[in-house]
Structures are given as structure tokens and as C-alpha cells.
């Protein structure tokens, strides 16, 4: 419990620092939203009036604390560009990106778990070598390039899906899911490769340990040994990787959304950056960072449950 409490405090401090840094960073950017909103027809007078109206002339700290207080309450401000609450903008797009991350994550777990164990059990055989070679190559392919290749092969040549034919989950949930399959494969493939490699390595390492031999000698049948001991211990580093991966996938979807023309949170972020729509950019970045931090926190806790050897001092 002490461990968890300590981690929790750390997490909150980290969250706070990030929100401050992000807010600060976007405050010192040259050029501002008043100008972006007015565009080529702006005059100095209209510009000044809009700055006043948007509150861009008030002191920095005052604005930060007000922003933070509202943020915690779920009020992320109003988009300069769309003149609508940022929370509304994000809430309709977040499910898309989260769904992508979750599907990719599920793909990774479902494929890499059996494949990792399978290759470990067949290590040295031809099938293992083959899988490991493919694996190694998959790890080296940038996921957006994989996305381009998948679009080309499955979208244009085999016509299994319509590139750009995204359908919102609000319109048709199953078509929405089916459109996400290929983008998710693009995100998941390198991660699958990574976790297969890690799981295989750690299974082999674990299986060679003394206690496994002891278990054999005690008359345990092989499958029991494998499940109970080897896999459980071998999973520990894999869980850490997965924890980091979930966050990676969320961020990876920013790029993949561009390849597959999916209007998710990444699209909102990129366009908002180019529009200098600060409230949106700040909210999205802090939100993504928060998800990453909270995920890491959960992983730490799970990790501790899975492996009680981690000391409370928690280096």
C-alpha cells in the first residue's frame, strides 16, 4: 500500500508539472490565436479587440490557474477556431482513437502470446527461425509505411476495404470497427513483433532456471509447469512492455490516422496545432500525457502484484 501511495503522489506531481509546462510552452509561441481567427482580413484594431475578448492580455499565472481549475472540472475551454467547447470536440473523437488503441492492443495480446510461447517451445527449429526472421523485419518497418503498404495491397489491389471510407461509430458501429482493422494491424504489427521476441526470450530464460527443473523432478507434467511457473514469471517483462505499448499505440495512431484518413484525436491535434487553436492543443496533449502517466502507474501496480520482489523503496 505504501508503494502504491508513493507512486500515486509521484503521478499527481508529474501530471501537474506536465500541465504547467504545456501551458507555458504554448503561451510563449509567437503569433496568436486572435490572428489565426481573423486571417488575412485582420486589422490591428480588430486584432486587439479580439485579444481582449479572448483574455490573451491577462497575466500568465492567472490564466494558468484558471485554466487548470476548469480543466480538472472537465471544462477544457472553448476552441478559438470552432467556437465550441473543447470537451465536446474531444469527446466525440476520443472513442475513435481509444478504440484503435484497444483493438491494436487486443491484436497484440491475442497474436503475440501464443506466438511467443510457440516459438519459445520450438526454439532452434526451422519454424522458429522463420518466425523470428519475419519478426525482426516487422520491427524495422515504420508503422506509417506499413499503413501505406496495407492500403495499397488490401485497399486498392484486393479491394478488401475502401481507403478513406471511414464511417463513424455513431453511424454504424460494425462498419466503423471493420474500417479500423487495417489501421490497427499497421499499429499492432511492430508491437506484436516486439512482444513475441521478448516473450520468447524470457520464456526460454525462465525455462532454463533451476526451479523449473525442480518442478519436473517433483513429477509435474510439462504443461502444468509451463503454465504455472514459467509463463507467470516470463510474463513480467512482457507486461511492462505492454504497458508502455498501450501509450505508444495511442500516440502511434496520430500518424496512422493520417495515412488512413481517420478523423480521430490525432487529426484534431494536428489541425489544431496548425490553426494555433491553443485550448484544443493543450487539452489534447495534457490528456494524452495523462493517459500515458496513468497507464504507467497501473503497470507499476500490476507489476508489483505480479512480482512482489520489487522493493517498497521502488528504485
Amino acid at each position: 500500500m505504501k508503494y502504491a501511495a508513493k507512486k500515486l503522489v509521484t503521478m499527481l506531481i508529474t501530471l501537474l508539472s506536465i500541465s504547467f509546462l504545456v501551458y507555458f510552452a504554448f503561451d510563449i509561441i509567437p503569433g496568436d490565436a486572435a490572428l489565426a481567427a481573423l486571417g488575412t482580413d485582420s486589422t490591428p484594431e480588430r486584432l486587439e479587440a479580439l485579444r481582449e475578448q479572448l483574455g490573451l492580455n491577462r497575466p500568465f499565472l492567472e490564466r494558468y490557474f484558471e485554466w487548470l481549475a476548469n480543466f480538472v472540472r472537465g471544462d477544457f475551454g472553448v476552441s478559438y477556431k470552432y467556437k465550441m467547447p473543447v470537451a465536446d470536440m474531444i469527446s466525440s473523437k476520443l472513442p475513435i482513437t481509444v478504440m484503435m488503441a484497444l483493438i491494436s492492443f487486443a491484436m497484440m495480446v491475442v497474436v503475440s502470446l501464443p506466438l511467443g510461447v510457440y516459438t519459445a517451445m520450438n526454439s532452434g527449429r526451422r519454424i522458429d527461425r522463420l518466425i523470428m526472421v519475419v519478426n525482426q523485419i516487422m520491427m524495422s518497418v515504420p508503422h506509417f509505411f506499413m499503413g501505406i503498404v496495407l492500403t495499397y495491397i488490401f485497399g486498392l489491389v484486393l479491394k478488401l476495404f475502401t481507403p478513406g471510407g471511414f464511417v463513424s461509430y455513431e453511424t454504424d458501429f460494425w462498419r466503423f470497427i471493420s474500417y479500423l482493422i487495417f489501421p490497427c494491424i499497421a499499429i499492432a504489427l511492430p508491437k506484436i513483433a516486439m512482444s513475441v521476441k521478448l516473450l520468447r526470450g524470457s520464456c526460454i530464460e525462465e525455462a532454463a532456471k533451476d526451479y523449473v527443473r525442480t518442478a519436473y523432478s517433483k513429477g509435474n507434467d510439462t504443461r502444468g509447469v509451463l503454465y504455472k511457473h514459467v509463463l507467470r514469471n516470463a510474463m513480467i517483462p512482457v507486461i511492462t512492455l505492454w504497458g508502455m505499448t498501450l501509450a505508444d499505440m495511442l500516440v502511434g495512431s496520430i500518424v496512422i490516422e493520417q495515412v488512413f484518413n481517420i478523423p480521430g484525436i490525432g487529426r484534431i491535434l494536428l489541425t489544431s496545432i496548425s490553426y494555433r487553436d491553443y485550448p484544443v492543443v493543450e487539452a489534447v496533449i495534457v490528456l494524452i500525457a495523462a493517459v500515458v502517466i496513468v497507464t504507467n502507474f497501473c503497470v507499476d501496480i500490476i507489476y508489483q502484484i505480479a512480482d512482489p520482489r520489487i522493493s517498497v523503496g521502488g528504485r
Partner: protein, 511 residues
């Protein structure tokens, strides 16, 4: 051992199969044809606003053209035709305009358009109800009166012959006085009405059955945002969109024969705009040297397969009477001459400068790359810096913090002022810091002639302005770019306008 392996193979197989089934099962329902009365059109960016009076950017306005109308509107030849008004009369030498409201015209919500709505809209744009004018040219409006329920009388502070053209822009659209939030509930009088919108995803329109004029042919229109220009070809080929305006020649070349390619012009002046206030561009000789060094035809060949119209000043062909084709040849490519001019200007070994290019316009980026190659021949190094469009607006356009930039400058109305007023020394939008007393004087004369209704004299003076811009090499003028529209052969009826307009109502289905 074998048994165990078998089991794992099975798990593996089943999980793979599962993934595949989900994938394929989903894909089966992906194709959708049949309902012939719909079209999906790709747009390169989301609409900035649905309120026409405050909407910024040509990309938004060209779409809102279908939802809203002004008192007048442009047709595809650039003439102004009656819209919400059915006619007008001009009196007091252009200081008073009296519009007659069209009979039986309705808003999308079914309410009739009244003179009160018109008064409200014009006053909103002119800032007469407090606040700044939304349209700067409307600050000239003295008052808006409605003597009866069919007429609107607009009095101007100073006579103007171009007032009607401003009334025909989408910013001056007539909106209902009783609808507060056009942003989420856009109500206009155009041939299409708004149905729904999903940010950065799409805008859905439906034809308006009670439209006063020729009704739209296609019932359902979905405007789909394709933010990544690299994905345009895939979206078209894959069938996600049926039409896309302003595809690049490269994209056009990659399309199959399912698509028809229509060719028009973009109606803008693409050029390398030079900051006339910074060294070395404050030197006319240097600017002229840069003009001589450019081979416009080569740029067209590289960037757009030779398509496009070279221009020599800040005016493009669609302007008709103002356009001066002869200015194109003032700086025929002459590398030796350019070098000589540079030497004369004190730069025998050339110099280097930075050219800022908005990264979202691939054609400008490509043009800048060709320019940089051409300038190498005269020893001048052009370093390209790609910037976001919004940074371009603030750094280049507003703060004028740049040396050179490649962009296209377009016109919001077909009035000479729309292209030429910005080059007056004290113009607020004179982003190139052009300062030339002769030009200012000539422009004043044109305005004076316009004020007394002497259009011929005004035209002469405007042409003189264009000539001055060319001779002093204010900018390196390149071309009016060609516009390619890719449209699935199932559809036809696309019409080019001399302004930034996408007229969806004219599209129809072939069959």
C-alpha cells in the same frame, strides 16, 4: 511434446482465424452503391465556420456558397445575378442602392425572407449594431432602411461602383434575424441546406426543395475532409469520394479512367512575393534580376505538366478588361541579363535568401523548389523554409517578417481593387511593403474616376498600376495556376467560376 505443440498450433490458428473473420466479415458491408442521388466530395480542410458573415478562408466560403446567398451572387462567367434580391437601382451617382426583395423566397427553416432579415444581415456585416464591421468595405454604409416590405435602401457614405460586387460575396450573405447560432444551426437561402457535421470528418448537405431558382439535381451531398493530400488518390480510387477539386497534376496522372479530369484556372496570381523593404530586395535591380532568371514555362512543365497561364503582374485573365497579357513578356528569361543586373546592383557573386512557403500547398512548395534550382544559375541561393499556413498568416502576412514567399494571391470580388489596393504604400494588407509614390497616385486617380462613374478612365489607371508593378518588379510573378477537378464519370455538370466557388447544385448524375 508433439501433443502439446499441436495444441498451441491450434490456439494460434484459431486466433489468427478469428482476426481474419472479423476483418473480412466487416469488409463485406463496406461497399455501398444503389442510391444514385448522392455524391461524396472531398475537401482539403474542414470548414472554419458555418456562419457566412464571419467565415474565413476561400476553402470555407466556396462551400458556403451552396448554403447561403447574398442579395446578388456571381454566375460562372463572373457576372452578378440577382439572388435574394430580384433587382436593384442605383441613384445619387452610386451613393444609394435600392434592392427589391425576391417574391416568395424562403429560408431553409421554411420561414419567408423579410426585409427585416436583410436589414439585420447588412447591418451585422457593416457593424451598425455595434462592434466592428465584419466586412471592411461595408464600413462605407451610412444606413439601411426598409421603406416597405419589398424594398431595402442602402445609403453609402461615399459613392461606390463596386458595392454590388461586395454584396455578392458570401460574407454578405442574408441570414435570418431570429436564428442566433448559425455556427451550429446554419440557415440560409441557397440550393442546399445543412444536415449535419462531424468535426474534421464531414459535412452533410441535402437539396432544398423550396429553393427559388433551379433546384439542385443531387439530393444528398457529403463533403468529406481529406486532410492528408497524399491520401487523395487513394480516396478517389477506392471510392470513398466521387469528386475532388484542385487535385495536383501528379494526382491527376495517377487516377484511372474512372475519372474525368476537368481543367480550369485557379484565378489567382502565383508568384514569389518579395519583401520590398528588406535587403537586397529593396533594390529594384535585384528584383528585376530575379525576374529575368526565372523560366516560367519550365516551372509549369515541372509542377503542372505545362498547364497554367503565365502572368506578368498582379492580375489574372478572368478579370477580362483589366488583364494585360503583354506584361507576361517583359522579363523573358535571360540569365546573362540577370547576372549583369546583379553585378550592377553590387552583388556580382549573388547572395542567399530564405523563401517561406506554406507547407499545405504542395504546388507552391514544388514551385519554390524549381525556383531555387533556377536561381542557382545566377549564383543566388534560395533556402526553402516550409511553414504552417497559420504561421504564414502571422509571420509573413501580418508581421511581414520574411524575405520572400511563394503563394497565390486571389480576389474576393472581381473588382480591380481586390487585386491592386494592397500595393498602396499605406494599405494595411500591403504585406510586401511595396512603396511607390507613382503607384499610389495612379491608384488614387483610378478611384477618383470610379467615383464619378467613369469606368473607362478607371480601367486605364488600373492598367497603369499593373504596368508599374511589372516594371519595378514588385514581385516575381509566375502564373495563374491551372485547376484540375477530378470527378467520377458517373457525375457531370461541374462548372468553373472565376472566383473561389464550388457550385454543387449544377452537378448531376449521368446515366
Amino acid at each position: 511434446m508433439t501433443k502439446r505443440r499441436h495444441k498451441f498450433s491450434k490456439v494460434l490458428f484459431v486466433s489468427m482465424l478469428l482476426t481474419l473473420t472479423v476483418a473480412l466479415g466487416g469488409c463485406a458491408g463496406d461497399k455501398e452503391d444503389g442510391d444514385s442521388s448522392r455524391i461524396a466530395i472531398g475537401i482539403p480542410q474542414d470548414l472554419s465556420s458555418l456562419d457566412p458573415n464571419i467565415a474565413e478562408g476561400s476553402g470555407t466560403q466556396e462551400i458556403l456558397f451552396n448554403i447561403y446567398e447574398g442579395l446578388y451572387k456571381p454566375d460562372s462567367d463572373g457576372n452578378l445575378i440577382p439572388a435574394v434580391a430580384s433587382g436593384y437601382t442605383m441613384s445619387d451617382g452610386g451613393a444609394t442602392y435600392t434592392f427589391t426583395l425576391r417574391d416568395g423566397i424562403q429560408f431553409h427553416n421554411g420561414n419567408p425572407v423579410t426585409v427585416a432579415d436583410v436589414k439585420y444581415s447588412i447591418e451585422k456585416c457593416a457593424g451598425l449594431n455595434g462592434g466592428d464591421p465584419l466586412i471592411s468595405a461595408f464600413s462605407n454604409i451610412e444606413s439601411v432602411e426598409t421603406p416597405d416590405d419589398r424594398s431595402i435602401v442602402i445609403r453609402l457614405k461615399e459613392p461606390s461602383t463596386v458595392f454590388l460586387a461586395i454584396c455578392a460575396t458570401i460574407e454578405a450573405a442574408i441570414v435570418p434575424a431570429d436564428v442566433a447560432d448559425l455556427e451550429t444551426n446554419p440557415i440560409g437561402t441557397g440550393p442546399y441546406k445543412f444536415v449535419s457535421r462531424s468535426l474534421q470528418e464531414n459535412v452533410v448537405l441535402e437539396s432544398f426543395d423550396d429553393y427559388w431558382g433551379e433546384k439542385a439535381h443531387i439530393k444528398n451531398v457529403t463533403l468529406k475532409v481529406i486532410a492528408d493530400s497524399d491520401a487523395i488518390v487513394m480516396n478517389l480510387e477506392g471510392g470513398a469520394v466521387d469528386m475532388m477539386a484542385r487535385v495536383s497534376t501528379a494526382q491527376a496522372a495517377a487516377l484511372s479512367d474512372k475519372f474525368e479530369l476537368l481543367e480550369g484556372t485557379m484565378n489567382l496570381v502565383q508568384g514569389m512575393y518579395l519583401n520590398n523593404a528588406v535587403e537586397p530586395f529593396d533594390n529594384e535591380l535585384v528584383r528585376q534580376a530575379l525576374c529575368y532568371a526565372v523560366d516560367k514555362q519550365e516551372i509549369l512543365d515541372f509542377v503542372s505538366e505545362g498547364k497554367g497561364t503565365p502572368v506578368g503582374s498582379s492580375m489574372f485573365p478572368a478579370f477580362g478588361k483589366y488583364y494585360m497579357e503583354e506584361l507576361n513578356d517583359v522579363y523573358a528569361t535571360d540569365v546573362e541579363k540577370a547576372k549583369a543586373l546583379l553585378t550592377e546592383a553590387g552583388y556580382p557573386n549573388g547572395f542567399s535568401f530564405t523563401v517561406k512557403v506554406p507547407s499545405n500547398y504542395q504546388q507552391h512548395v514544388d514551385t519554390a523548389q524549381v525556383l531555387a534550382e533556377q536561381y542557382k544559375k545566377i549564383g543566388v541561393t534560395a533556402n526553402i523554409e516550409l511553414i504552417e499556413w497559420e504561421s504564414w498568416l502571422s509571420d509573413v502576412y501580418q508581421n511581414r517578417d520574411f524575405e520572400a514567399t511563394v503563394v497565390g494571391v486571389d480576389a474576393s470580388t472581381l473588382t480591380a481593387g481586390a487585386m491592386l489596393s494592397r500595393f498602396r504604400s499605406d494599405a494595411h494588407n500591403n504585406f510586401i511593403n511595396y512603396s511607390n509614390a507613382e503607384y499610389d497616385a495612379e491608384y488614387e486617380k483610378a478611384l477618383a474616376a470610379e467615383a464619378v462613374g467613369d469606368d473607362e478612365a478607371a480601367t486605364v489607371h488600373y492598367k497603369e498600376c499593373e504596368t508599374i508593378l511589372t516594371l519595378t518588379a514588385a514581385n516575381v510573378y509566375i502564373q495563374d495556376m491551372c485547376e484540375l477537378v477530378a470527378i467520377n464519370k458517373k457525375y457531370a455538370g461541374y462548372e468553373f467560376y472565376p472566383l473561389y466557388i464550388q457550385d454543387l447544385a449544377k452537378l448531376y448524375i449521368v446515366e
